[in-house]
Symmetry: C2
């Protein structure tokens, strides 16, 4: 746009409800509030598929999904039409001339008679005049699965500019009934090309059709232009909205937990440290940073060695006996060894001093103690539950797991909540309600996308979502789960099934997928299998925790009632050898006004797997991060 237009920002939108001046007829569909274009969904997802809008003039923007070209003999357009075609602002000079060629042809025909050879004589550079063509573009703008067909005459723009998959176009035209019989009822007849963003077809990675999702992972910044990934992201968005709707309806307050934390919420060691010292800085630092006393020692030892060498030479020069010289040489060697040892010890000492945590950091880092990217927000949420009642958080959590897994990445989205004055059963009920609500929501609000993914990815998706939304979940204790696995002779596991073994993801999935064939809640685990903050049951052996496992997806939710008794919590921290000072603030909650709380974490990305039929979380996260891989 010309700078004079931008010099004065004028809000040219009509206040809602007001009619635009008669010169530009007001469309039945309104343009998006922050763009001149009309969103495709508002046309195509109407009951009449847009047919009632035929005759409307509007602007459509989007990306080419596919195209075809027909060569037609047709009357050459008048110059008016060509002028009205406007000057595309993003074309090179050659392209502008090309678009004018039909006009020039008209002039030549009028003045120079028919036939191409006349053109050749008169205008050598016009030797190969392109035949008029009609281009049919299938355009998507990411608002729905369906595409809109746009009919573009080659007089408006050279087909080569717009035909390739991935090309961006902004087009003004008139909606008309589809010229081609079939499932499409409406199309746009282009009158002006307002913008073209071309594609380097040879290099564009998404030129082919139906690229498998695993190949798309390498092109995270483009892949949402494919129908599959766009559907997945719309479903993801719907689930995100539904989650927050559930909490809002149930009077949960949203509380942001800190991402940078010094509290290790699960006592795990797989953490990402957060520091302002870059790798360059931490390693370039002189590893031999010696304090005064030690450096004096080492320097004096080295000086002593130099002196001893001189003494030996003096001995030699003055003809001293060989025993004296030999003794002196041995002495040099020992002193040299000592020097090496001192140097090594100094390096260790300096490293150790800089590595101490919770003390003023001499190394210039931003915070005085070690800080991590948070693994879980539940501890912080508890403190807010013990003031505001029901609270939740929904955001990124981090785990530096070096193993490759389709269900787990270093950075994932988690939904966490804590409820005051509630117990294990309440957390289980809430988890059940959340899952059912979300499945019902996506069935109701994402039917077009679900139809698409059920055809393209997983034909069982609708049935599975429905059965979770309305069916019952199995609830068994850990002890019952072990018994069931023992009784099940149909399958061999890597471990011997016995009470006390950890219920691995594999075992849990087997229980849900094969034994019960529906979501399963397992509760009352051995306390050793669960984090320190889980309330120990009265039997002293089990802990009030639960996992909710969904067939095909795995452990979607992990929850617990939290230990509200100060003495019990303090013992657990000691028992597990956790650094107590890190948890003083958390113990404080038990010292002063402790309440029974319970809550859970829901792995949001697994929920999106659940609702799309995909198997790998890298396909449902906008920009997935993997161990050992560079990222953008």
């Amino acid at each position: 746009m010309a700078s004079d237009q931008q010099e004065h920002l004028v809000d040219q939108r009509q206040p809602e409800g007001q009619e635009q001046p008669a010169v530009a007829k007001m469309p039945v569909t309104a343009p998006s509030r922050y763009s001149s274009r009309v969103i495709l969904k508002t046309i195509l997802n109407r009951n009449d598929n847009g047919l009632g809008l035929a005759g409307e003039r509007l602007v459509i923007g989007g990306w080419v999904k596919s195209s075809k070209e027909l060569t037609k003999e047709e009357p050459v357009k008048t110059s008016d039409a060509l002028v009205n075609a406007g000057t595309p602002t993003d074309f090179t000079c050659a392209e502008v001339i090309q678009s004018r060629i039909p006009f020039l042809r008209t002039i030549i025909k009028v003045f120079g008679g028919q036939g191409n050879n006349v053109h050749d004589k008169l205008h050598p550079f016009m030797a190969k005049l392109p035949q008029p063509k009609i281009v049919y573009l299938q355009i998507s703008d990411g608002s729905c699965v369906q595409t809109l067909q746009i009919v573009v005459h080659s007089s408006l723009v050279p087909p080569s500019q717009i035909m390739f998959t991935g090309t961006c176009v902004l087009v003004e035209g008139i909606l008309q009934q589809s010229s081609v019989k079939g499932k499409r009822v409406i199309e746009l007849k282009a009158e002006r090309i307002l913008h073209v963003g071309t594609v380097d077809h040879a290099k564009y990675p998404l030129s082919r059709k139906r690229i498998p999702v695993d190949e798309l992972r390498d092109h995270a910044h483009f892949r949402a232009r494919t129908t599959t990934v766009a559907s997945v992201m719309r479903i993801r968005n719907a689930l995100s909205h539904a989650t927050r709707t559930f909490f809002h309806n149930n009077r949960f307050l949203n509380v942001e937990v800190p991402i940078i934390t010094a509290t290790d919420s699960e006592g795990s060691s797989e953490k990402f440290y957060v520091t302002t010292l870059s790798g360059h800085q931490t390693k370039m630092k002189n590893p031999i940073s010696m304090d005064d006393a030690a450096s004096v020692t080492l320097r004096s030892v080295k000086a002593s060695i130099a002196e001893k060498h001189r003494q030996v030479e003096e001995l030699m020069r003055t003809g001293s006996n060989k025993e004296a010289v030999a003794a002196a040489l041995q002495d040099i060697r020992k002193t040299d060894d000592l020097a090496h040892q001192l140097e090594a010890r100094e390096r260790l000492r300096a490293d150790h001093a800089n590595a101490k945590t919770n003390e003023p950091n001499v190394s210039n880092d931003f915070f005085p103690c070690e800080t991590y990217s948070t693994v879980s927000g539940r501890l912080h949420l508890e403190s807010y539950a013990c003031a505001l009642g029901n609270v939740y958080s929904f955001g990124p959590r981090f785990r530096a797991e070096r193993s490759e897994s389709k269900k787990s990445l270093p950075e994932m989205s988690m939904v966490e909540l804590e409820m005051a004055f509630s117990q294990l059963e309440d957390a289980v009920n809430c988890a059940t309600d959340v899952l059912k609500f979300l499945c019902a929501w996506v069935l109701e609000h994402c039917s077009e996308d679900l139809m698409f993914v059920s055809k393209r990815l997983d034909s069982t998706i609708l049935d599975r979502l429905q059965s979770i939304a309305v069916g019952s979940f199995e609830k068994i204790s850990y002890a019952e789960a072990i018994n069931n696995l023992k009784k099940d002779t149909g399958r061999k596991f890597d471990v011997k099934i016995d009470h006390g073994i950890p219920l691995s993801e594999e075992l849990q999935c087997y229980i849900a997928d094969e034994i019960y064939k529906r979501p399963v809640i397992i509760y009352n685990y051995p306390k050793e299998h669960k984090p320190f903050y889980v309330r120990v049951n009265d039997d002293g052996k089990t802990a009030a925790a639960f996992d909710l496992i969904v067939p095909k997806v795995g452990t979607l939710i992990r929850g617990s009632q939290n230990e509200e008794r100060f003495n019990m919590l303090e013992s657990r921290i000691k028992e597990l050898n956790l650094p107590k000072n890190q948890y003083e603030w958390y113990l404080d909650l038990r010292r002063h006004g402790t309440a029974r709380t319970s809550g859970f974490s829901l792995v949001f990305d697994l929920l999106v797997l659940q609702a799309t039929g995909l198997n790998d979380v890298r396909d449902v996260i906008p920009f997935p991060r993997s161990f050992g891989k560079a990222c953008n």
Copy 2:
């Protein structure tokens, strides 16, 4: 709870709408779905302030805000009443006996006549029987500003257990009309104490009333129990919900941008690095990590020195001439010097190799290139806008600024959006609409909390929110802004006002607070003042960026139209000396199907300042992080 109750998880809730059995009368207010308690807001925020619920039996949970105690002569309760009082489960044995003392007194009176001295003779340990007392507790559960009065007879629980501020109680009782005339119309007469979480009054940091907000910052895990902070957090929650409602209504899709990134979105150097090497690990690593060739060299040199020593000894032993021995000694010394030099060089080489970025990292870090906690998500959002149209993200962003500021912390919440097929004016319009919508929303939905903060924190808050919601904003270019500042002789600034100077926060605030006294949008800045991705205007000097400054709060929103032209963007990256390889994927968006996009970032925490009248973001963020301070 007894373990047998937890062994079988049974959902004891009635499906919504069903009547509970007649034995327990169904309350008019329903308990919270995941707790036995009724949320106070559902009682106190009724039109009749809860009066119509008198006679209802229900459970209330919360924390004591204040209390008072009255000693009363009253008929001693019957044993039935005492039995019905139940056994509080969290008391020590001594407390249980104490609660039974009135019952024992009854027995003594019946059998032993009237008068305390008789008690003394019969039961020495009962020499000091406590007088019956009535305790009036003001309880808050975090759902609203108002508290509920609970009347507790000391026969139920010793007053010292429950009276202190911060004590947690869960109480079953009957709602009754308030016994005390005043603004309270309803109170709960306690019948059973179900839970008490006591407070160590001497150590509890929130014992006093009306602690100033800056003192509360040191107690982030408790401070939401104060009415002020609870109101602030409820307003924050409402703004969060309103933000997402706005985007949902306007067809924006929520897209999570990565927190761990290798893309520096603003070319700034104040970043937090993310690594799996702890300070301990990075420094404990042997700084002399030598490759094979170099280590062989050093080892062979050291072996050679040892050999030379032996040779000298042999020379001595065999009586060789002194010149030979002297020469041998000199040789040893030189070789030893060489060994030291080699060692030092190896250390430097190893450090240098490990500090290189974008190359396979030999140091065992998680990702092969340097990764940061993201400063801004707008670049990643753009790629999704160029596929899905309108997208937004709402989450934590990080800036390792070492300066102290009331408006800026290392970790803050940002709302960011990008819109395809839109320009600068569209982004400005959207920013204006968002701000107005949010102010109008909080005025409509948070009246009780706003009334409270307007009395406690800032009496102008309601007017200011109203004027933003309905008033107009000033829109001026950078050039006009400079002219206005020059013309304004009423104030001296630290810098000379001239075209080309950066518009600091101070200058921007002056324009909004003093010159226009309402929100101001300044646009078309000199291109040097704005990030590399901002579209350069046709004048070649200014960039299509804007800032939205709100009086008292500062620069709330920063936005721009983005450079969609490949050549221009590439030049800017080169001009600013940015590492081009980091931005290849971003340049790709211009190579293939570029669209005009615009967007902005909104500093959510400043919005909460705006809506609460506070001045320091540490008072509106649940767990604020500050430079140089330890955190939990």
